[in-house]
């Protein structure tokens, strides 16, 4: 997978109807990766991407930190435990939440030019 040029994240938030759950928010993302399988993310996600998933378990933060993922977009209106938010802040990982399904979110990102 080729590395995407950096894209500003903030303008994408209204498009995704996303709420920022953590204190931390990166300036840019370098493309997007979608998977609910942690090992798949470990195997294939590039550093700096926005990772979209329905998973809310704290391992999401561990995996994101390990792969230097920029931000995690949690879809389908799911919310992680507050303890997980603290961990994400500690690791410098941004967590975003959207009511959209992963499919809808992916469509919006594609339309926004992240391809």
């Amino acid at each position: 997978m080729k590395t995407h040029p950096p894209i500003s994240l903030r303008p994408l938030l209204p498009v995704l109807q996303a709420e920022v759950l953590t204190d931390h928010l990166p300036e840019t993302i370098r493309g997007c990766y979608i998977s609910d399988l942690l090992s798949d993310v470990l195997a294939h996600a590039e550093p700096g991407v926005l990772w979209a998933t329905v998973q809310v378990h704290r391992n999401v933060v561990s995996v994101a930190a390990m792969k230097d993922v920029a931000a995690v977009l949690i879809t389908c209106g799911r919310r992680p435990d507050p303890a997980i938010l603290a961990e994400a802040d500690e690791e410098g990982i941004a967590l975003l939440a959207t009511p959209l399904s992963t499919y809808e979110a992916a469509g919006k990102l594609w339309e926004a030019g992240i391809r």
Binding site: L38, A43, P47, A65, M66
Partner: protein, 321 residues
């Protein structure tokens, strides 16, 4: 006339001029370091017979004749032989001694002392200090003994220094080697990633390339989750060395039935709960193998599964962060 300085041979090794320790020592050491002191002396009125006994007792070949610390002459073994031969052994020393003998100063270098021995052919010299007081006697034997003694001391110092260096290096290497060891419990999904997080911190502190750090993290994380999901419990041992990190995952069972199958992407025996949490994609072992520079897995139903993965931290051509 000053004696011609003796030629000190200088060994050549390649282009470097090498001066032996013995050569350095003859410059550094002084006559006072080698002489025998205090000197055994005799008075001018002492008989040659008494001096002969003095020589026999102390195994000297020459006795300085002094009066109140001032050197007046020297009686040598040759003088005694002549006295016995000519029959005046009972005469007093002052009648037959060599008056005003050639002396050395106590501050002369041994190099100069050797030159004086060569120049005069004497077996011994009385040694005077700067105020012309007799302070000792010196022979070629004294010089040799002194050099041997100092060479031995230097050799011992060199050996001690070497031993200290080796001990220091061993201590440094030990300090650079960090072993992280943690038990991993079955089903403890909340703890997954703990040990790989600690390892990542160490690797970051050591300035390891981010790509290599990520690979090591993936291996450690997959190893941890494998034990959590599939085993009856075990432990993870991460050894960080200067050049590599070794990740070992050992569990107590139940063992992998078919390793070849387990190594295939997508093949998983994980249950419903881990799958819901995003585990059990059947990519753990293949991920570990792909991210490792060395990967071994041994498993049987009696002793459990042992995985050992090695990641090189500073491969040739890798750019530091």
């Amino acid at each position: 006339m000053n004696p011609a300085p003796p030629v000190i041979p200088v060994a050549r090794a390649g282009n470097a001029r090498k001066v032996s320790v013995a050569q350095v020592l003859v410059y550094e050491l002084r006559v006072r370091d080698a002489m025998s002191a205090p000197p055994v002396t005799a008075h001018p009125k002492t008989t040659l017979r008494e001096i002969q006994h003095l020589m026999k007792t102390h195994r000297f070949s020459g006795v300085p004749i002094t009066d109140d610390g001032t050197l007046l002459g020297l009686v040598s073994i040759e003088d005694i032989i002549r006295a016995l031969d000519k029959g005046y052994i009972n005469d007093v020393a002052e009648k037959h001694m060599t008056p005003n003998p050639v002396t050395l100063r106590d501050h002369y270098s041994l190099l100069r002392a050797v030159a004086e021995f060569d120049r005069h052919g004497f077996g011994r010299f009385p040694v005077l200090d700067t105020s012309n007081r007799l302070v000792g006697m010196i022979t070629r034997g004294d010089i040799t003994t002194c050099l041997m003694h100092h060479l031995e001391k230097r050799a011992e110092e060199a050996l001690a220094h070497e031993a200290a260096l080796l001990a220091q290096r061993a201590a440094d290497e030990k300090a650079q080697r960090v072993v992280l060891r943690a038990p991993v419990r079955t089903g403890d999904y909340d703890s997954a990633g703990k040990i790989s997080q600690r390892m990542r911190t160490i690797l970051r502190e050591r300035g390891i390339d981010p790509d290599i750090r990520r690979r090591a993290a993936v291996v450690a994380y997959e190893a941890e989750t494998n034990i959590i999901i599939h085993s009856l419990g075990g432990e993870i041992v991460v050894t960080v060395e200067p050049e590599r990190v070794i990740i070992e995952a050992n569990d107590v069972g139940p063992g992998i039935e078919n390793i070849e199958q387990a190594m295939q992407e997508g093949w998983s025996t994980a249950g419903r709960l881990p799958r819901e949490l995003g585990f059990g994609a059947g990519m753990g072992l293949p991920n570990m193998k792909r991210c490792s520079d060395k990967f071994e897995i041994v498993s049987n139903s009696e002793t459990g599964t042992r995985v050992r993965a090695e990641i090189h931290l500073r491969p040739a051509g890798a750019k530091p962060e």
